[in-house]
């Protein structure tokens, strides 16, 4: 019942956003002012919503994928007792609400409200099974790291407000020219810090893999399809700022690229099926930031969309596998599931191909667009990007092969109830699979078909400012078709090779007795020890500083002084009262001395 309501609501909003999309498509975007959130002489924040091309795309993704995942959840979560089941859907809907708030807000404050709202929901959903304290820690980690990003976001907003006196997109983007270079650099860097938090980029990415503690549909919706793309949305939204920020763009590109590679390398050696997908998500997000960094905003958004499709698909597929395996997540104990769960297998395979970037699947188009732009900016980017692509292909097919090919390596009772998942699971899988296959066709690059890139055309008004700016600057050199062909060929070919290698290596995978990782492999298996690093350079010092303040500064230092005064008074009292010796002689003597003092002061000073 609850599930139906929950899903129905989202379906409704999906239909509405379709309607909104049609409206926008027919060219009338709209900003709706509801009421004044804050309205004082010094600060005016309206509770305004804005529906334009960018937000409508995201609306579709969120509500669409969201709806599918709701449906999926109705079956996936049915073991939960009804109370928790209801709670789960409540959280999920709350998440969709905040996400919509985020993308529909017409100023940075409303966006921030959604921004933190989704953080909250991710916190709640990661820690959904709150009996387990590891999950709670993961949830806490996610929230705190997001908070770090949020601080950057806030400061950026303050900066904007203090310079321009407003946080409305329209006003801000209209008055960008009033900002000095330092302002823009600072603002964009801070915004980017916010993005790294939300979208799991270096240095704040470590929460995302841990976030897999949550239920798998949550990982699919929040930690793959929607929330983590908020950062991309935000930067795409304020693209004009970033286009003008000469300093920031390379930073974004490099960080994105580094993240893509780092995460890819880690993914190579993970055995937890969800962990692999998590790192692949991080890596894909890295690509998106690369795209943003090189000014390929459309490409980034495009990749967001396609990624939403196939990554959601992959996660849900993984979920269906885990479901079948009775909660088992270690790929080493899987294998040969092909014959038990055909639909899952098929859809999963499609997803893998899509993400590996094999034409004409969706992943190919979006990733290729980004890579092309990267090449245009700086060939090195492209080389590294392709390297990452190869790794992607490799680990995805490693995953696929270990899971579905070869012999089943699990226990017997697992083998017993291996079964295909119910319709509520398979239908969303199929739909997403279709999208993953065809989704790329909205953005066919010009080399194949002039004007084939409908998405670009659609989003054109959003990025017009940036494009004009670049034109004005005059360094917008397009690649010749031939180079583009070559680039594509290289990347696709590489991908195929990597794919084949993975296939050959893992389709006959057997569990070795005790495979002790060594050297680089060990490092990768342990995720480059980044968590440990953070722990030792940030968490530990903060903790010990707190202890120091609490035990030393507070008790001995400040409070010590305060109490010390009291003790001093007591001590002084005990000493002074000894003057009162009881002897008249002493008394008179002291009196005389006092009198002498007065005499001296009066007569000789």
């Amino acid at each position: 019942m609850v599930g139906i309501i929950g899903s129905a609501v989202i379906l409704g909003s999906f239909i509405l956003s379709l309607y909104a999309f049609m409206q926008v498509k027919s060219g009338n975007t709209h900003i709706a002012h509801y009421f004044n959130f804050i309205n004082t002489e010094s600060l005016k924040i309206g509770f305004d919503f804005q529906v334009d091309q960018l937000s409508s795309i995201f609306l579709l993704i969120i509500t669409g994928v969201g709806f599918l995942i709701h449906v999926y959840s109705t079956s996936y979560m049915h073991e939960e007792e009804s109370k928790d089941f209801a709670k789960y859907f409540a959280y999920l809907n709350l998440f969709v609400f905040s996400m919509l708030l985020l993308v529909m807000g017409a100023n940075y404050i409303i966006m921030f409200i959604g921004w933190e709202g989704v953080g909250l929901c991710s916190y709640l959903l990661i820690g959904f099974w709150f009996k387990n304290n590891h999950y709670n820690d993961a949830a806490k980690k996610a929230f705190v790291m997001n908070r770090i990003g949020d601080l950057g976001f806030l400061l950026a907003v303050f900066w904007l407000v203090s310079k321009l006196g407003t946080a409305n997109y329209t006003d801000v983007f209209a008055n960008v020219k009033n900002l000095t270079a330092t302002d823009i650099t600072g603002i964009t860097l801070l915004l980017f810090l916010g993005a790294t938090g939300k979208s799991a980029q270096i240095p704040l990415y470590t929460w995302l893999p841990d976030a897999m503690a949550g239920p798998t549909p949550v990982s699919a919706l929040i930690h793959a399809a929607t929330m983590v793309t908020a950062g991309i949305y935000m930067i795409a939204r304020s693209n004009i700022l970033f286009t003008m920020a000469e300093v920031t763009q390379p930073v974004i590109a490099m960080v994105g690229l580094a993240t893509a590679l780092l995460a890819a390398t880690i993914a190579l050696k993970q055995n937890d099926i969800k962990k692999v997908l998590a790192y692949s998500t991080v890596s894909q997000l890295g690509y998106m930031f690369l795209g943003l960094g090189v000014g390929a905003y459309t490409g980034a958004v495009f990749h967001v969309m396609t990624h939403a499709f196939f990554k959601a698909l992959l996660f849900l597929g993984a979920g269906s596998v885990i479901h079948a395996m009775g909660g088992e997540q270690d790929m080493r104990n899987m294998g040969g599931l092909k014959k038990y769960m055909s639909i899952t297998h098929l859809t999963f395979l499609l997803g893998c191909i899509a993400i590996a970037g094999i034409p004409p699947f969706s992943g190919f188009f979006s990733k290729d667009e980004i890579l092309a732009a990267a090449f245009a900016k700086n060939p090195v980017y492209w080389v590294l990007g392709v390297l990452g692509a190869l790794m992607t292909a490799f680990y995805m097919f490693r995953l696929y092969a270990m899971t579905f090919r070869g012999q089943f390596r699990g226990t017997h009772e697992q083998a017993h109830h291996l079964h295909e998942s119910p319709a509520a699971i398979t239908i969303p899988l199929s739909i997403l699979a279709i999208l993953a296959v065809v989704g790329g066709l909205v953005g066919i690059p010009a080399v194949f078909k002039e004007g084939g890139h409908r998405l670009e055309a659609f989003l054109q008004p959003i990025f017009a400012g940036s494009n004009d700016y670049i034109k004005a600057k005059g360094h917008s050199h397009h690649l010749s078709h031939s180079t583009e062909y070559i680039l594509m060929a290289v990347s696709v070919l590489g991908a195929l090779i990597a794919l084949g290698y993975a296939w050959s290596k893992f389709s006959k995978y057997q569990k070795a007795a005790a495979e002790e990782e060594t050297g680089l492999a060990k490092v990768l298996a342990n995720k480059w020890y980044v968590d440990e690093l953070y722990n030792s350079i940030i968490v530990k010092p903060v903790q010990s500083l707190g202890t120091f303040f609490n035990n030393v500064v507070e008790k001995r230092g400040i409070d010590g002084i305060v109490n010390g005064v009291g003790r001093a008074v007591n001590y002084g009292s005990r000493q002074i009262r000894l003057l009162q010796s009881g002897q008249i002689g002493t008394y008179v003597l002291l009196m005389i001395i006092g009198a002498l003092l007065l005499f001296i002061i009066q007569l000789f000073v």
Binding site: G585, T586, L589, I592, I593, F599, I600, L603
Partner: protein
């Protein structure tokens, strides 16, 4: 140096010497006798200042009544040199002497640099000190203090009585 000056110096030395002995001598009885000497010297000064009335009163009241009363009390308690054994710690003694001397020093030093010091005082002549004048002043201008000092005497009298009256009962605490 005129007779008066000689007298002045003699009396002054007598007074100071007596005073010192009052403080110095161990035996209370001696102290009292020295004090009487001092008082006589002071009375002599009064005469010298032509204040006969005060001179007489001083001798009658002080040297006569008061000191006799003292003497009587001392005799009653038969105090003697042993009644006040020298205390172990001498610091109070020394510091006391030092303090007193420095007080003297400071005052004298101050007076030395004051112009008032040069002012003269009138010795032999000057009628103010005579009983007739004083009596007149006392019973005209000073009638109120004169009357009110009776209150002083009354209270002193009552005090003396209730203090020295024998109280019945044992030692009490905390009243």
């Amino acid at each position: 140096m005129s007779v008066t000056q000689i007298l002045f110096w003699f009396l002054s030395l007598l007074a100071i010497g007596g005073a010192v002995m009052v403080v110095a001598s161990r035996n209370p009885v001696h102290s009292i006798l020295y004090l009487i000497i001092t008082f006589f010297a002071i009375s002599g000064h009064y005469v010298l200042l032509n204040a006969q009335f005060l001179a007489i009163v001083n001798i009658i009241v002080y040297a006569g009544a008061i000191m006799v009363l003292f003497l009587f009390v001392v005799m009653l308690m038969n105090l003697n040199a042993e009644s006040e054994p020298p205390s172990k710690s001498k610091y109070l003694l020394y510091s006391g002497v030092i303090a007193g001397c420095s007080l003297l020093l400071i005052m004298v030093a101050a007076i030395k640099k004051s112009d008032a010091a040069s002012q003269l005082t009138q010795l032999k002549d000057g009628e103010v000190g005579l009983i007739s004048n004083l009596g007149k002043t006392l019973f005209t201008d000073f009638v109120f203090p004169f009357e009110i000092s009776s209150v002083l005497f009354l209270s002193a009298m009552i005090g003396a009585v209730i203090i020295s009256k024998k109280e019945t009962g044992t030692e009490t605490e905390n009243l």
